[in-house]
């Protein structure tokens, strides 16, 4: 029994780390800009294609691609917020939702147009190298993804808690006028925040592709889980996103084990419903006023 459950839990943690990373980006953007970024999944898809083509055309290893894709997507996120989202939302928060939704539709359909709906994968020489952890054997890329996602979370936490930018981001998140009056550039800070959130998604793409695939629709599966993760963790909570991402990965793996592989995600949404019923502010969220 244990010899089945433990590998499932470990495997679930590795998936959960990716969920957490995607959710960290989402929760950062939500927590600061107070917008639900519907384009998050599309940006993940775009990053997956980026990683795919870097490997397929230039032969660049996905982990090496981190050094390219993450900065590029940071800039892309910055420009999207500053040049598109804030411009087309005309200063109204309710418009932002529509603009990000429009972005998602445009990006998804462009991807479909240019790259068709074919499922693409890459095969790395070390994709099936197994790492032995107690009774479990975990593919090396998944172990890397787990460790890297945690490292990314720590880096994010350090940025937010220790740096001048992090303090400015937290200040703008809750007291925009006060931030303006100490001389913080609010638009720039918003865009930095969107850039960092998008960079999270790009990092997730690099860690994900070695054991996954990419299609123009691939973002949906992740973003749905990421939304669940964010709500479960408490909207805007970093620690919450991390813990609940890992938790959902494990729940999914265990449901997959006991109910059959294809039913794994049922557990995630069941957990979501239960949380909404009994603790709507999430595990780490402040109680709603």
């Amino acid at each position: 029994m244990w010899s089945l459950v433990l590998p499932a839990i470990l495997g679930g943690l590795t998936t959960g780390a990716i969920y957490a990373l995607v959710a960290l980006g989402l929760t950062l953007i939500y927590g600061v800009l107070h917008i639900i970024n519907f384009a998050h999944g599309s940006l993940l898809m775009l990053a997956l294609y980026g990683v795919y083509f870097l490997y397929a055309i230039l032969g660049i290893d996905p982990y090496l691609a981190l050094l390219i894709v993450v900065p590029v997507f940071f800039v892309l996120g910055y420009v999207l917020q500053r040049g598109v989202i804030s411009v087309f939302s005309l200063g109204k928060e309710q418009n932002v939702l529509l603009v990000t939704l429009a972005l998602a539709i445009i990006i998804d359909n462009l991807a479909l147009y240019f790259w068709t709906s074919d499922t693409r994968t890459i095969s790395l020489p070390y994709a099936y190298t197994m790492v032995e952890i107690g009774p479990a054997f975990i593919p090396l890329p998944r172990v890397i993804a787990f460790v890297a996602a945690l490292v990314a979370a720590v880096i994010l936490w350090l940025i937010m808690s220790r740096t001048r930018l992090g303090k400015a981001i937290r200040a703008v998140a809750i007291e925009k006028r006060g931030a303006e009056l100490v001389g913080i550039d609010v638009d720039h800070t918003y865009a930095m925040c969107f850039g960092i959130g998008t960079a999270c998604v790009a990092a997730a793409a690099c860690l994900l592709l070695p054991t996954f695939y990419v299609t123009p629709q691939v973002g949906y599966a992740f973003v749905l889980v990421a939304f669940t993760t964010v709500v479960l963790g408490g909207m805007g909570s970093f620690m919450g996103a991390l813990v609940s991402g890992l938790l959902l990965g494990v729940i999914e793996a265990l449901c997959g084990l006991f109910l059959g592989e294809s039913l794994g995600q049922i557990g995630i949404f069941l957990a979501f419903i239960l949380i909404l019923l009994f603790r709507p502010s999430g595990l780490f969220g402040r109680r709603a006023a």
Binding site: K167, A168, A171, E175, L181, G183, I184
Partner: protein, 233 residues
């Protein structure tokens, strides 16, 4: 050092300020008095670059800062401590003070931080605490401390005594007088007429979008119109 000339400003179809002119000299405390909703905060926000005026100019040290961004106004040396304090409740007291030096006097942050802890001993005891958990008076102290961290040349205080206990109000006005002795100019916006006039050298009274009265504080206290409207005498 500050020269406001013929400012008109408002929101949408509403005109709030209808031609405001005033000056503040070096190291001077100037009070702007007026009841709720006459446009005192609007004036502050025009000076701070939050609201663009429809007409008129704002000059600081003869540099035109009309319509400049809030950042540029901070760079020039004007810091506003806004109505309702607007401290960062989710940040620690220490972080709030540090953010005060976000654009100005960053290299002297440590020195100024120590200075704030001396001026506001109560903040020193609470440096690690989240600012949102402070009492109203402490939050006001923090807001002023945050403003001073930037080494402003002109400090705008928007109703600093609002919502404080009588004892705290007393302490607040003493404090304002004390920090002005270090040489910075202060624009004190208040509804608290008597105590403001006691520490200000000059005052303006805002009514219906214009300054209805202006002059040295001593003259103002003696003015029968002011006594009648604002002091009920």
């Amino acid at each position: 050092m500050l020269e406001v000339n013929g400012i008109k400003a408002g929101y949408g179809p509403v005109n709030v300020l209808q031609g405001i002119s005033m000056t503040i000299g070096d190291g001077e405390i100037v009070a702007v008095l007026g009841s709720n909703g006459v446009g005192k905060s609007t004036l502050n926000n025009v000076i701070s670059g939050i609201i663009k005026p429809r007409e008129g100019t704002v000059r600081f040290d003869t540099v035109d800062i009309t319509g400049a961004s809030p950042r540029a106004v901070v760079d020039a040396g004007i810091l506003q401590v806004p109505e309702g304090r607007r401290i960062f409740p989710n940040l620690s007291v220490k972080e709030n003070l540090e953010l005060g030096a976000y654009r100005r006097a960053r290299e002297r942050m440590a020195v100024n931080f120590e200075r704030m802890c001396t001026i506001f001993p109560r903040l020193r005891e609470r440096l690690g605490q989240l600012a949102g958990t402070l009492s109203g008076g402490e939050q006001q102290m923090l807001a002023i401390g945050r403003g001073l961290m930037a080494e402003p040349r002109l400090l705008i205080l928007d109703e600093p005594s609002l919502g404080l206990s009588p004892l705290m109000v007393e302490e607040m006005f003493n404090l304002v007088q004390r920090i002005s002795q270090e040489g910075l100019a202060i624009l004190l916006v208040e509804q608290n007429v008597v105590q403001s006039l006691a520490i200000a050298s000059r005052a303006y009274v805002l009514e219906q979008g214009r300054f209805a009265l202006e002059g040295p504080s001593g003259d103002m206290l003696a003015d029968p119109r002011l006594r009648k409207t604002y002091l009920g005498l």
